[in-house]
Amino acid sequence: MRRQVPLALCFVFGVVMVLIEFSPHPYSKSLYNEVINWSLIIGPFALVLGVATLVQTHWIRIRRRAEYWQYSFVVLIGMIVMVAIGIPFGPSHKAFKWLFMNIQVPMDATMFSLLAFFIASASYRAFRARTLEATLLLVAALIVMIGNAPIGDFIWNKIMPFDNLPSTVRQWILENPNLSSRRGVILGVSLGVISQSIRIILGIERSYLGGGD
């Protein structure tokens, strides 16, 4: 029963939702709205599960004094403080906004900004024209990079007669080779998603149930 019931529900809802797409009947529309409402209600359960797992994982690390357990302590304190202010006073409260804008925003922005340093260092070390494919990639990347910065056009326009060539070539690369390859990827992924969805609806693919089946 533990496997048959979810499989049956998946089949029924999968088939019904596909059929609804082809029916303009008011009953089918109201059923569609009802299902959307249900899924909105189910969604927050994931949040409860996520919070419970986070607390459990970090609490165990603190209790066992695992390596870097102090960071787990910071995680829990951070979460408790934000929840203690956010739930009673709402996210537009001054204190909540202050904590978000002065702690989370600078920390997140700092982490992301560090990427610039690592990308510069990594591109210097690893971006080599070792093969034909690597050379094509390298040349395209350099053109897009310099075409994407106003200084590219600025320098070019000073020394050459054709205006804005770097940004024009960048745009051509994005609109032609990039677009064609991306479309191929999108079509491939979409076909994969359709076939996987059919397998799940028909109960052939059951790994989402867990248990390694």
Binding site: R128, A129, M145, N148, S167, L174
Partner: protein
């Protein structure tokens, strides 16, 4: 010498990157911005909308991407408010709630837009696709009240707005795959016009949708924000940052060329030995 160049200490590269940011920032250097076609299309679309039209902006990003996306939001909001186009703000990302609110407040201040009459900020609801689809039935079935918990029924601007039928454009400011979800679920199902402003790393993914006109316009990364600032003739943060970023691009360009020249000379020397 070659070996030294090939094995340059990464801390030297870090210092060079830092200098490439700090020096142009202090010198306040700026370069002319060339406007690309996808940004111009978005600008033209807004220009052609009559005043009183409604656009929805989804602030689907967090603090890590705000340096690129916040200036886009600001430029776009300024343009809408100047043209007396009503704006509904919302987010599908938890971290975007405060950022969206802040940027709408800031843009409203500079253009004298009034909360509840010229714009409404709805905030965040969990459920991504369900939220998008639910708003297609009625917006107030998903957002009963705005960010400040004022019921939508009491907000004058929302009186005639029920669902996507009354919205002329959805602009998704995104740092992840939300734009593709807006296209797949809302453009396809409701024939809703969609535009996007995305971070640099996902620009290339958007081009197939531009060609099929599933996206009517696109602001590509910080450059897109600078282009939009140029179009509305209000150079601001993005224009400044883009000029600074230019030097870092130029530095990385130079480093890659230098690395490859050294690599080829060394390769030739090894072959001759």
């Amino acid at each position: 010498m070659l070996k030294k160049i090939m094995r340059i200490d990464r801390r030297i590269i870090f210092i060079l990157v830092a200098l490439a940011v700090i020096i142009p920032t202090l010198l306040k250097v700026s370069f002319p911005i060339t406007v690309s076609e996808p940004t111009r299309k978005l600008y033209d679309y807004i220009e052609d909308l009559p005043s009183g039209s409604t656009v929805l902006i989804a602030f689907d990003y967090g603090p890590s991407s705000m340096a690129e996306l916040q200036p886009m939001g600001m430029a776009f909001l300024r343009h809408c408010f100047q043209k007396k186009i009503q704006v509904i703000g919302m987010t599908l990302v938890t971290d975007g709630a405060t950022l969206g609110y802040e940027i709408m407040q800031e843009a409203a201040k500079t253009t004298d837009a009034i909360d509840g009459e010229d714009y409404v900020y709805l905030g965040f609801r969990p459920g991504t696709i369900q939220v998008m689809l639910g708003m297609g039935t009625t917006i107030n079935s998903i957002f009963e009240s705005d960010y400040k918990e004022k019921p939508l029924a009491e907000i004058p601007m929302m009186a005639g707005i029920k669902n996507y039928d009354q919205i002329d454009l959805v602009l998704d400011l995104a740092s992840s795959s939300t734009t593709e979800a807006w296209i797949a679920y809302i453009n396809t199902r409701y024939n809703q016009k969609i535009a996007a402003g995305v971070t640099g790393v996902i620009i290339s993914q958007m081009y197939p949708y531009l060609q099929t006109e599933q996206l009517i316009g696109l602001m590509p990364g910080l450059l897109g924000a600078a282009e939009y600032e140029t179009l509305i003739d209000t150079p601001a943060k993005a224009t400044k940052r883009m000029s600074v970023q230019s030097f870092v691009h130029l530095l990385v360009f130079g480093l890659v060329i230098l690395g490859n020249v050294a690599f080829f000379i060394q390769k030739r020397e090894n072959e001759n030995v």
